[in-house]
């Protein structure tokens, strides 16, 4: 259905003239004697609805179904007509609900049988209906604004459903002529207005209703084109449930609805709580829901649906849903429904069952644009190692308090304090010579010495913190604390290393690659095999990583992944992050563009040692360290 088809705007014009106060002559027993009552009470006399009551409740039912299935973009304007037109609501979305209409109808009240019939006419309402059809809806306005110069592509079509009691066929003809004439006039007006739109197409549905038992003075007539703009159809319907049935048929036709009956729904009996019987519930919905059914040729069409409805219904057997809601099922369509018989017990049992999933009201706390989410993802992924064996800090429980807050946009004083505590704690660990979960993968022998491990850890932590120093001044303070506390001054470290250098030179040369030059290391198939083989022990050792899932086929045959995904900071363990891959790549790309300063290239913590050539004669290697700390 096009957005701006005739169904976009429906105007109800209901006759409020004195004769509508007449009884529909269909009795309703309302004083149903309940069992076990005292004998001898005569039930109160049945009452009957007026033509007005029948018209109003049938049109409300039409609206109920329409609003259920199209809560947006299908609009109703309700007009009652007597000595003048009373427009009960507007096209705005806020006015589009049953409560509003019911309240407005109550304010109008039933027609006054003693009013002067000469002053009253349905014509007032019909003229107002045409007028209101020319008024632009917020959706039309929005579409026109969006299309700018193509604004004329936005259609203005509508439907007038007029419920009245007509005197004769020629009376009906007169009403049609009046509508046509009014459209002609108002289109002229609309042509010169910015706020009004010309009516391109109007469907007039005239419903003549009369008391049960009387002869109709008006004959039915199928849809007929009266002019290129106006089509008209006439329905002559007895009041009471006949009128309701007619409007039910019309709402299905007007909004392309179809019916599905859910059969065999087990429900507890009211009287006998421990027994259950099976019920059927008929639902209306857009007929697209049946398209695939009909295509499959597997028609579950059952002859006729229960009482009243004219259409065929597709029957589906109820299947009690499994409680497992963590599985995704392939779903090609979801459709809004409306129960045909909304307050029958089976219907309300079904809808309550479906609605009774635990629900929570949202209080606007999530009213934050998606952009904030993207922004957060950006921050969280600035430093995110993808391979467990290539991160130290994210294998350490002790780092979590810092890692979980440093990615935030802004820090509280308490956050800063926690970060500082984390750093002091690490210093303490280093002093006590606590072991670190450093990967020994790809290295021969025992892997790096303890102080080397700490150096790697401090470097990585610095990388993480540096990735966020521009977030705020407090982030900066965390870095300052880190720089002040991190192990020895570089000179001292260098000296120590120099001493050690000779004994495990071989070890070193292989390790040198390790730091963050992942790209190189990944190409080293020897090392990769090592990772694959030792990966498992690794995981157990690190004791932090969750189950590795199966990987999709192509490149990686073996899961080498961190597994915490959602807002990673929320979870207390298994920290997160990568970026060295990214930053390395960027750095490599950037460094190709210019010749790096020799000093920076060889610097340690951005300090370059002078007169290195003197040391190099002693077999010194400086580059590995430099790479890591350079940002």
């Amino acid at each position: 259905m096009k957005i701006f088809s005739e169904s976009h705007k429906t105007v109800f014009v209901v006759d409020h003239c004195p004769y509508m106060a007449e009884s529909c002559r269909q009795h309703v027993e309302f004083d149903m004697l309940v069992k076990n009552r005292t004998q001898g009470i005569i039930p109160l006399a049945p009452i009957s609805k007026s033509l007005w009551t029948c018209s109003v409740e049938s049109s409300m039912e039409y609206c109920r179904i329409m609003y259920d299935i199209f809560p947006f973009k299908k609009l109703v304007n309700f007009i009652v007509s007597d000595s003048g037109a009373h427009v009960l609501n507007s096209w705005t979305q806020e006015d589009q609900n049953l409560q509003e209409l019911m309240a407005a109808l109550a304010a109008v009240g039933p027609p006054n049988p003693r009013a002067d019939p000469e002053c009253c006419s349905i014509l007032h309402g019909l003229v107002a209906a045409v007028e209101t059809l020319c008024k632009i809806t917020e959706y039309q306005h929005e579409a026109r604004t969006l299309l700018m110069e193509n604004a004329e592509r936005v259609g203005n079509r509508g439907r007038i459903i007029c419920i009245t009691n007509a005197k004769s066929d020629s009376h009906v003809r007169m009403l049609e002529d009046c509508v046509q004439e009014t459209i002609h006039e108002h289109n002229k007006l609309a042509a010169n207005s910015d706020h009004l739109m010309q009516i391109q197409k109007c469907e007039l549905v005239l419903i003549h209703t009369y008391p049960v038992g009387e002869d109709s003075l008006v004959s039915d007539r199928p849809k007929k084109e009266l002019s290129p703009v106006l089509t008209s159809e006439v329905h002559s319907v007895r009041a009471g449930r006949h009128l309701a049935t007619k409007l039910n048929i019309l709402v299905q036709q007007h909004f392309d609805l179809a019916s599905t009956t859910i059969t065999n729904i087990p429900m507890k009996e009211e009287q006998h709580a421990n027994t259950s019987a099976n019920y059927d519930v008929e639902l209306l919905h857009h007929k697209d829901a049946h398209v695939d059914f009909l295509k499959s040729g597997d028609n579950h069409l059952s002859g006729s649906s229960r009482e009243g409805s004219f259409k065929e219904t597709i029957t589906l057997k109820w299947c009690t849903p499994r409680t497992n809601n963590i599985e995704l099922h392939y779903c090609t369509g979801a459709y809004r429904i409306s129960p045909v018989d909304v307050n029958s017990r089976p219907s309300s049992c079904l809808t309550n069952f479906l609605l009774n999933d635990p629900r929570y009201k949202i209080d606007g706390s999530l009213e934050i644009p998606l952009e904030r989410a993207k922004d957060q993802l950006e921050k969280h992924t600035r430093y995110w190692p993808m391979i467990i064996s290539q991160t130290t800090i994210f294998n350490m429980q002790a780092v979590v308090p810092l890692a979980s807050v440093i990615v935030k946009e802004s820090l509280t004083e308490e956050d800063v304090l926690n970060c500082q505590k984390t750093i002091y704690n690490l210093v303490d660990m280093e002093r006590k010579n606590d072991p670190l979960p450093i990967s020994t993968v790809g290295t021969r022998g025992k892997g790096p010495k303890r102080d080397e491990q700490y150096r790697i850890m401090w470097n990585e932590l610095e990388t993480l913190v540096r990735a966020h120093i521009n977030n705020s001044e407090k982030h900066q303070r965390v870095l300052e604390c880190l720089m002040a506390c991190r192990s020895k001054p570089p000179e001292e470290e260098e000296r120590k290393k120099r001493g050690r250098k000779r004994e495990d030179k071989e070890d070193k040369s292989e390790k040198a690659v390790k730091d963050y030059e992942q790209e190189k290391s990944w190409q080293d198939s020897e090392r990769l095999k090592g990772i694959l083989e030792r990966g498992k022990e690794e995981l157990a050792e690190a004791e932090i990583i969750k189950d590795s899932p199966d990987s999709p086929e192509p490149p990686n045959k073996k899961p080498l992944v961190e597994t915490d995904e959602t807002p990673p900071v929320e979870k207390s363990k298994g920290p997160v992050s990568l970026l060295s891959l990214w930053s390395n790549r960027i750095n490599t790309a950037n460094s190709r563009k210019h010749q790096e300063f020799a000093g920076r290239l060889n610097s340690v913590n951005n300090r370059a040692e002078l007169y290195q050539h003197l040391k190099e004669e002693n077999g010194m290697e400086t580059t590995e360290n430099g790479k890591a700390s350079r940002q």
Partner: protein, 518 residues
């Protein structure tokens, strides 16, 4: 999207093609050449896709059932015999059967019809089929439109002039029209030769078989991926916005959400997301491009060693039971999730939602979704024991708001009986009694059904007289009060018949002795 190749093997396909060179070609050779090219392209870029080969003349035969083995398809091309006359309709019926049997009616399928534009003679010829098209009954309906989403590509081993000299082109165009315009006719530009056939099939490949490559992004994490099958353009609204929407080649993840919250949403289409590798120079290596198998293997080996974001993402989604929401374009989103295709194997997949600001009403507007940390209070609760979804609609649907419908007498009777039942249990049920009473009062006022109010008032007065001696004195007071109020409302005067006015319980006090004197 599976493909059915439908190859014309009627005698007319053996007509020689005059080529200046020494070798003599027939049209079927040209056709086979073009199809070879298509199969080769698919073998490299569409490895996962299934293709079937049907040959037809007056009869049709399924030469190769749906397969991913392009060698088999290739071999079949060289083993085709020549048969009698062209009978297109029966072949198309055959295609319907084959596809429906294998894929049902919901999977889109491409049909590549290769013919020379000679449409047969007499019964069963396309002209005959089209001429009798309007006189069909349901039992022998024309096979078009195909009973599944489809594209019909007609590859003519003839050039435009030749087809236009008869009514062949018109007939073929009718075919596309009958398929609801889904499809296209290709003809050879210029003389019939291998080169021009190649360029014709090249156009088909460009139109229908170009792989969709994209960059999957999540903050700074990225991966080059192929999205398979290729997402097709989508038209949102024919009237206002008739331009087909195409998805971005930058697929940006905007957030993650629990599977339970998104709960099996309706989707337009589903696609595999396959990582592809880029080598140092930025050229693609993993999927396609390289013809040399060895190169490809070594490239794949290298790719296998590079940590890939797809692997991380897939694993994480699987473990956490979540999906990633991905931006496909302006106001267009989809989801990435792990889909198990067996106990051991699962894949990263992407499904496309319908374009629009609010494709899934229970999540509200996509742009209004934000990070948990931005919420004042964690909407999932401290123990992860609740969820902000599904969102409540601003206006409840009729079935969730206890509407009053009296169209059937039973509806009215139930409502009256509810009041009566509660009336008999006064004063315990005072609250429910007045709640039901007010509900009935409101509806009666809206429907202008004032007689009902009078009737119910009478009924309550009668109940009052029937109260047993043991009844609490309050019951009589409340019944009288309620009846009185209903009577006032039934006059319809604005003073008493206000819609928003509620009848409230009479304030009584039976706690002390004072009540006795009332």
């Amino acid at each position: 999207m599976p493909t059915v190749v439908v190859m014309d093997v009627s005698l007319s396909m053996t007509r020689p093609v005059s080529i200046e060179g020494s070798e003599e070609y027939q049209r079927k050779h040209l056709a086979a050449h073009g199809l070879t090219m298509l199969f080769e392209h698919m073998a490299t870029n569409y490895k996962l896709e299934f293709t079937a080969l049907v040959v037809f003349s007056s009869l049709w035969e399924l030469m190769v059932p749906f397969t991913r083995d392009y060698n088999t398809l290739q071999e079949a091309l060289s083993n085709m015999d020549d048969y009698d006359k062209t009978c297109l309709e029966s072949a198309l019926v055959g295609v319907c059967n084959i596809v429906q049997q294998e894929w049902g009616g919901a999977i889109p399928c491409q049909v590549v019809l290769v013919t020379d534009g000679c449409l047969g003679i007499g019964r069963g010829s396309l002209r005959h089929s089209l001429a009798t098209h309007s006189q069909r009954s349901e039992s022998n309906r024309f096979p078009l439109p195909f009973p599944f989403p489809s594209k019909l590509y007609i590859m003519c081993m003839a050039n435009l002039e030749e087809l236009q000299s008869t009514d062949s082109l018109d007939c073929l165009e009718r075919l596309i029209d009958l398929n609801n315009g889904e499809g296209q006719i290709f003809t050879i530009d210029g003389p019939l030769c291998l080169k021009n056939v190649q360029s014709m099939f090249g156009k088909l490949i460009d139109l229908a078989y170009t792989p969709f490559h994209a960059v999957l992004k999540c903050g700074h994490l990225t991966a080059d991926v192929q999205v398979f099958p290729r997402p097709e353009p989508f038209v949102v609204d024919e009237e206002i916005d008739p331009i087909p929407k195409v998805i971005n080649t930058d697929l940006e993840i905007v957030g993650f959400i629990d599977i339970a919250d998104i709960s099996s949403p309706p989707v337009l289409s589903r696609h595999l997301v396959l990582p592809i590798a880029l080598n140092k120079e930025g050229d693609e290596v993993g999927t396609g491009i390289t013809d040399d198998n060895e190169d490809e293997n070594s490239a794949n080996q290298i790719a296998g060693k590079i940590p890939n974001f797809c692997v991380l993402l897939h694993g994480s989604l699987k473990v956490e039971g979540m999906v990633a929401i991905v931006q496909l374009g302006p106001e267009w989103h989809g989801m990435l999730y792990s889909q198990a295709d067996s106990k051991k194997k699962s894949n990263l997949m992407m499904s496309l939602f319908e374009p629009g600001p609010e494709p899934l009403p229970w999540l509200g507007k996509m742009a209004q979704l934000g990070p948990i940390s931005d919420a004042k209070e964690n909407p999932y609760g401290e123990d992860d024991n609740k969820s902000p979804f599904p969102l409540q609609p601003k206006n409840k649907r009729s079935y969730a708001q206890n509407v009053t419908v009296w169209i059937k007498p039973s509806g009215l009777q139930t409502d009256v009986q509810k009041i009566l039942r509660n009336a008999r249990k006064l004063p315990e049920k005072t609250q429910t009694f007045y709640k039901e009473l007010n509900r009935l009062r409101k509806a009666a006022l809206a429907f202008g059904f004032l007689d009902l109010l009078k009737g119910v008032a009478d009924m309550l007065e009668r109940e009052c007289t029937l109260l047993p001696d043991t009844a609490h004195p309050d019951a009589a007071f409340q019944l009288t009060h309620a009846a009185q109020q209903l009577k006032l409302a039934s006059t319809g005067t604005s003073e008493y018949a206000g819609y928003d006015h509620n009848i409230t319980p009479l304030q009584t006090d039976f706690s002390g002795s004072s009540a006795e004197r009332m």
